[in-house]
Amino acid sequence: MISATEILRLSGRALRRNKLRSFLTALGIIIGVAAVIFMQSIGEGAKARIRAQIESTGTNIVMLFSGTSQGPGGRGGAGTQPSITWEDLRAIQTELPSVLAAAPQMNAGQPVISETNTWNTQITGTTPEFFQIRNWPVSSGAIFTASDQASAAKNAVIGQTAAENLFGAGVDPIGQIVRIRDAPFTIIGVLEKKGQNGMGQDQDDVIFIPLSAFQTRMQRGLGKFVPGRIFVSATSPDTIPRARAEIASLLRERHRLGPEDEDDFSTSSMAEMTSMLTTTTETMTLLLSSIALVSLIVGGIGVMNIMLVSVTERTREIGIRMAVGAQPADILAQFLIEALVLAAVGGMLGIVFGIGIGHLLAAKFGWTMLTRPAIVLLALGVSAGVGVVFGLYPARKASRLDPIDALRYE
C-alpha cells in the first residue's frame, strides 16, 4: 500500500475538486458537532452556576431536623415531631469536635410595615451563630447579639432586597422602625447582598430577628424543644460526614435510643442538595446532547451518501488507477480518508462554530458557557468516527470494483 501522506494528498485533491459539494457535506457534520458542543457547554455552564450558588449558602453546612411524627395517620415529614431540646443544641455546639457552630432557624412569610411601605417578606427567627454559619456579614450596622436572643429583643437585621422595598433605594435602614405583627422592631444591621440561591430564590428578601422574639411574636414553640430546623456548620467541607456521625451518636445517646430504635431526627448536607440539582441539569444536558448527536448521525449519513455518489461518478477513475497498479487497499484508503477528512474538518469547524455561537448567545442571554476540553476532544473523535463508519461502506464498494467493468463504465 502507498504511504499515508500520498493518500492524504490524493484525497485532499479530490475534495478540493468539488469544493461546494465537500463543504455542504461537511456542513452536516459542522452543524451536528456545533450543536453537541453548544449544548454541552451551556449545560456545563448551568451546572457550574448552580454549584456556585449552592456554595454561596455554605459548603460545610449540615441541616438537622427533628424526628418524624408517627401516628394512626401515617408518618409525617422530617421535623414534624419535635425531639431536639435546647440542651441537645447546646451539647452539639460545645461537645462535638467536628462542629463549628449550630443555629436553629424558623421561617414565616409575613407583611412588614415601614413608615412608607408594606412589604411581604420572609421573617426568619434565628440565633447570632447563624450569620457565622452562613458566612454572611453585615454591610452596615451590626448583628443582634446573644443577649438580644436571651431577652427576646425587638432588633432586626435586614436583607438588601427587603430593605429597598421597605425604605426605598438610597435610604439608610439603620435605626428605622418596622412593624411585624404590630410589634415594632428596630433595624440594627443590613446584610451583604447574597443573590439567588440554587432554587432561584432571592436570598436578600428577608428580615432576621432573634428566635426568641420570633417565638413570642410569630409562632410559639414548645419551650423545651428547639423549633424549626438547625443549621450546623462542620469545621470544613471534608468533616461533614464526621460531623453528621457525631451529631447522630450524640443525639442517640442523649435520647436514650436502643440499637434497634430508629433515629428521632435526621440530617442532610448541602453536598446532597448540590448533587441532586446538578443531576437534574445533567439529565437535561444529556437529553439535549442526544438530540444534537442525532443531527451528527444525520450528518454522517450525508457523508455516506456523497461518498457513494462519488464512487459511482469516479468508477472509471477507479478502473484507471487499478489498471496502472493501485491495489484494493490503496483504493479503500483513498475513499476512506476522503470521508474521514470531510468529517474531521467538519468536526473542527463545528467546534469553532459551536463555541463561537455559544459565546455570542451566552453573552446575549446571560448564560454561562463552560466548554470542557474533554468534550472538544470527544466531539472531534466522534466526528472522525462518523467519517470512518459512514465512509467504510462506500470505500469498500470502490475497492471491490472489477477493474475491467470499472474501465468500461460510462
Binding site: 478502473g319 488507477r321 496502472v324 491495489q327 484494493p328
Partner: protein
C-alpha cells in the same frame, strides 16, 4: 524464455446454468521485443485475451507465465503489483484522469510503485519528452487533441519502464493521419526493446506489426509473421 507463455488457456463465463467458453485451448508464446497485432471480430475472444494478458482478469483453466512468473492464480493484490511493474496499458478511449495535468496522469503508475515525488516528476517529464509532449505537461486532457491524449497515455504506459505494453484499439478513436503518428510511436518503442501487443480490427493498422494473430470463437485461427510496415531492418530481422 518467452516473455509470455499461455498453455491450454481457457476462460469460461457462467450465465445461469449454461457455460460459455470465451477462450479455449489457447497456446501462445510471445518473445521479448515482439510486435504483435491481434485481430478478430467482436465476440472472437480478443478482449478476453487482452484482459488476461493484462492481468486484469484470471483464466479459468490453463497456465499463464509472464516474465517467468506464474500469474494464472494470483490474488487481486498480487495482480495489481504485476500490472504496475510489468505492464503498460494504452486504451482506445485514452482513459486519462480528467481535470488532471498530463504530467500528473503520467505520474499515476509511479505513485502506486511508491516512487518518491521528486523522481516521479523527473521520470514523468522524461516519458512525456519521449512521446514529444514535454511542452504540454501542464495541460489537462480537455486541452489536448485526441492524438496528444493518446501520446500522454503512451507516456503513462512507458513511465514504469515495463517490458510489455498492451494497447487495445489504440487508434480506434483517431483519424488516419493521427493513427499513423501513434503507430510510428509504438514502432519506435518496440524497436527500443519493449514488447508491444495491440488489438485492432483495421488491416492497415495490423500491418505495422511483425506478427499477426487472428482469433475466432475463442481460439487462435492464424498466427503469421510479416514484414512490418515501418521495418527498419534492425527491428524486423531479429524476430523474422
Amino acid at each position: 524464455m518467452a516473455l509470455i507463455e499461455l498453455r491450454a488457456l481457457r476462460k469460461v463465463y457462467q450465465s445461469g446454468d449454461s457455460e460459455f467458453a470465451a477462450l479455449h485451448d489457447v497456446n501462445l508464446d510471445i518473445d521479448r521485443g515482439e510486435f504483435v497485432a491481434i485481430s478478430g471480430s467482436s465476440g472472437s475472444g480478443k478482449s478476453t485475451l487482452m484482459n488476461i494478458l493484462g492481468c486484469l482478469d484470471s483464466p479459468s483453466q490453463g497456465s499463464y507465465v509472464l516474465a517467468e512468473r506464474d500469474v494464472a492464480r494470483l490474488s487481486r493484490l498480487e495482480l495489481a503489483r504485476i500490472r504496475n511493474e510489468f505492464i503498460g496499458f494504452v486504451f482506445q478511449n485514452f482513459n486519462l484522469l480528467s481535470r488532471t495535468s498530463a504530467a500528473e496522469n503520467v505520474e499515476l503508475p509511479l505513485i502506486y510503485a511508491k516512487v518518491p515525488p521528486g523522481e516521479r516528476h523527473r521520470r514523468a517529464k522524461e516519458a512525456l519528452d519521449r512521446v514529444g509532449l514535454a511542452h504540454r505537461a501542464g495541460h489537462t486532457p480537455s486541452q489536448l487533441s485526441g492524438g496528444q491524449q493518446q501520446r500522454v497515455a503512451i507516456a503513462r504506459a512507458l513511465v514504469t519502464r515495463p517490458p510489455l505494453i498492451l494497447a487495445d484499439e489504440p487508434t480506434g478513436n483517431l483519424d488516419s493521419a493521427t493513427s499513423v503518428e501513434i503507430m510510428k510511436l509504438l514502432t519506435d518503442l518496440q524497436q527500443s526493446g519493449i514488447t508491444i501487443v495491440f488489438v485492432t480490427h483495421e488491416p492497415d493498422i495490423a500491418a505495422y506489426a511483425a506478427r499477426k494473430l487472428a482469433l475466432k470463437d475463442g481460439g487462435i485461427i492464424s498466427d503469421v509473421r510479416q514484414t512490418p510496415m515501418l521495418a527498419s531492418a534492425a527491428g524486423a530481422e531479429v524476430h523474422a
